[in-house]
Each structure stands twice: as C-alpha cells, then as structure tokens.
Assembly symmetry: C2
Homo-oligomer: 253 residues x 2
C-alpha cells in the first residue's frame, strides 16, 4: 500500500475536515481515486471509466461530477499522485542526512538506494508506472500541473550528483566521453535552470544517461521484454545499478 493524495479543489482553503460535509468530500475523493487505481490495474488507462468507478462505489455515475469535472481530470489526478508517490520514494531514499548532523551516508550508497526504491515502487505499482512512463494515453494531454511532480525524480538524481560533487565524492570516470557541441549547450542551459545551479554539463549528462538507463531497464522488466531470458531480473538490476554508479563517477564506498 502506498500513500497517495491530491487534494480536491475544495472551494475555500478551510482546514481539511472542519465540517462533516468537508470530511465526507475528502474521504470520497480518496475512495474514488482508490477505485480508479484498481481499474487502472485491470484495464489500463483507456479502460478507466467513470461509470464503472461510480458503480463500484455504489453511486450513480453523474454523482462523480461533483468531484471531478471530467474523466480526464480524474486521470490527471491519478498521474499527479503517481509522480508524487514515485518522487517521494526516490527523494526519501536519496536524501542525505540532515545538513550538519550525523555522518552522512555516502553518495554512492544513497544513489543506489534511490534506484532500488524507484524499481521497488514500479514493481509494486506497475500500472501507475505505466501511466507515467509508458506510452502516452492517446487523446490525453497532460496539463502543466504535472510538470512539477514529474520532475521530482530527475531532480533527486541531480541532487545526489551535486551533493557528491560538493563532498568530493564524484570523479569523471576514465571512459566517459567528453560532452561537446549542441549537447554541451543544452546541458549548460539545463544546469543553469536548475533550482540550485552549478552542476557541470559533463556530470549532468552522465546523470541524465543513468536516468534513462534505469527507466529503460525497469520498463523492459515490467513490460515483459525479459521473459525467457533475464526473467527474475533482480541480478541484472543489481549489476546495472552498480555499473551505472561507476559510470556516473561515484567514489566506491
């Protein structure tokens, strides 16, 4: 069971649950999303049906419109929840110790823990994973509100790299190719746009590559490309993550 929450657009900013009505609304919103997630698992994003959700909740279909103005809005809520849940898992695993306190966990260890947390979440929530990292849902256009939650994972990746850089735990590995030309420009622009800039393009590009490698591997595992070859893909995953740690340049623990 994962924690999910996206507040419904409760008119006033009143505390959650001041009146019975408000408490009921919060509760039902949660139940609607729970049931919707269940249907996602059975039928995929396209199979998500307001009528079926209402039916399962013992309501009439039109009642759902008091909670979400349309099917796509419900889908958006699910997408944001999924990004947030995954982002939280990654952040939790990758966060360093509180600044100044206790001996910090090595960056390499935190990075590996983050990769594993991401995979664990994906395996526990395969359909929500598919919702955000699988093929786009046709006819659905993600609103801007998804951008923030979607960038939590890549930002967590970059965060570890930046931390490692600051603490001298990062070194360009010998076999990393230099980043040049258009790529260097893009990386520099991206680096400058980060919440806290200062990550050199070379390191940023290696982090991005690791990010794509990780999700490529997880997608192959979940989408069935390894059936019959690396079927329990635990060993392959462990190997790849260790290899990626080398590539990104984390100093061995």
């Amino acid at each position: 069971v994962t924690s999910h929450d996206t507040e419904p657009s409760t008119g006033g900013g009143a505390g959650r649950g001041r009146t019975a009505r408000e408490r009921a609304r919060v509760e039902l919103t949660r139940e609607i999303k729970e049931e919707a997630r269940r249907q996602l698992a059975d039928n995929g994003a396209n199979g998500l049906s307001l009528r079926a959700v209402a039916r399962e909740l013992g309501m009439v279909s039109s009642a759902l419109y008091r909670y979400y103005p349309s099917r796509d809005d419900l889908l958006t809520a699910l997408i944001i929840d999924a990004y947030d849940a995954l982002g939280e898992a990654a952040e939790g695993a990758m966060a360093g110790a509180a600044p100044g306190a206790a001996p910090a966990t090595p960056a390499r260890t935190r990075w590996i823990a983050g990769c594993r947390a991401i995979r664990d979440w994906a395996r526990s929530n395969p359909h929500e994973y598919a919702l955000i990292y699988g093929s786009p849902v046709p006819g659905y256009h993600a609103p801007e509100a998804t951008i923030g939650p979607a960038s939590r994972v890549p930002l967590a990746f970059v965060g570890v790299v930046r931390g490692a850089l600051a603490s001298g735990e990062l070194a360009a590995p010998g076999e990393a190719l230099p980043v040049t030309g258009a790529l260097a420009g893009q990386a520099a622009a991206l680096s400058a746009a980060l919440p806290s800039p200062g990550v050199p393009p070379d390191a940023l590009v290696r982090a991005v590559i690791a990010w794509t490698q990780l999700f490529g591997l997880i997608s192959f595992e979940l989408f069935g490309q390894f059936v019959g070859s690396f079927d329990p893909s635990e060993a392959l995953f462990t190997h790849v993550v260790a290899q990626l740690a080398v590539f990104v340049g984390f100093r061995p623990a």
Copy 2:
C-alpha cells in the same frame, strides 16, 4: 513509408495472386492493415476498432471477419509487422559484408548504424513503436508467433558482438564490472541457447545492457520525457550511442 507485410492465412500454399480472388484477398489484407495502422496513430492500440477500419474502407464491419477472426488477431498482425519492420531495419544496418568478400565494415560502425536505424524507424513509426515497446495493451496476450519477430533486434545486437569478438574487435573495457553469481548463470544459459552460441557471459550482458539503454533513451524521447530539457535529442542520442560503443567494448575505428 516503410514496407510491411504479414501474409493472411491463405488456405492452400498457392502462389500469391494466382487467381483474381487471391490477388484481391492479398490486396485487401494489406489495405486493412494500412488503415489499422493509421488508426493506431490516431487513437492508440485501444482505439483500434474493426468497425472504424471497415467504415474507412467502405465495407461493412462484418466483412472484416473474412480476413481476421477477431480484433485481437488484427492487433497481432500489426505487432508482428512492427517487430519485423524494426528487425529488418536493424539487421540491414548491422549486417557485415558478405563473408569472405570485400573489406568488412568495422563492428563499431555497424553497431552505431544499427542503433541509429532503430531510432530512425521508431521516430518514423512512433505508434507502432509504442505498440511493441510501450506499455502492454491491457487484456491482450501476445501469442507465441510474436516471439520470433520480437527477438530479431536483440539477436542482431548479439550478432555484431559475436562478429567483433571473432575479428578481434572487442575488448572488455576497463570499467566494466565482472558478471558473477545468478547473473552469470542466466547469461551463460542464454548464451548457450543462442542460434550460434559461444558469446561469453560478460560480453552478452554488456550487449543486453546496451540494448536496454538504447530503448530507454528512445522511449524517453518519443514519450515526451525530454520536453523542455533535451528537446531535440539528436545530440544526446549521438553521445549516448558513442558512449555505449565504448561500454560494450568495440575497438575505436
């Protein structure tokens, strides 16, 4: 425009087009798949509708059942076509020169050409790509007939590696981690099961990792994860492929 074909289950093995009827059947089968592909692009795999295909072709929906016994069978035909088209593109780009003849293209060059051919095909046929490498279609179970076509790309990858090995063009790079334990076992088993065995587990695993990295990158590009960062992702792609060539161990040209 790409070439696509999967013969309909024409009763006898008679040459294609002996009679007018047979020619018409082959022709219509092609048109049905073409129209289905068009709909795939508009509505995704779930949006593929026999009735809509028939409508567009000016037939009545029940007529399609003379060609495909069900919607899922049509989907299977599309999936097989997609795997075959992509496989053909990869094989074409990765194949060495005829054995014994002419100076062979270096393995590294062929490998990079193969990666690029795969990406080019994916960008030209994004919905067919999503069909085979995106989230699984819920409720659809791929029949065994898809296994062969699906393995063409990974086999092409392994083929280049084996070729490079034979011609002394492959060397374990210094930063590659040793393959041990359960992973080594899986790799050895897989290696032994290959059409032509003899690829050492270490090299095989590196090829598999490169395969997942490549498709992870392409999926991110096509599914929109790079929007706003590495937006034209040409430069990133070129960099990653070169980096992968180093990782797999191809001798620089």
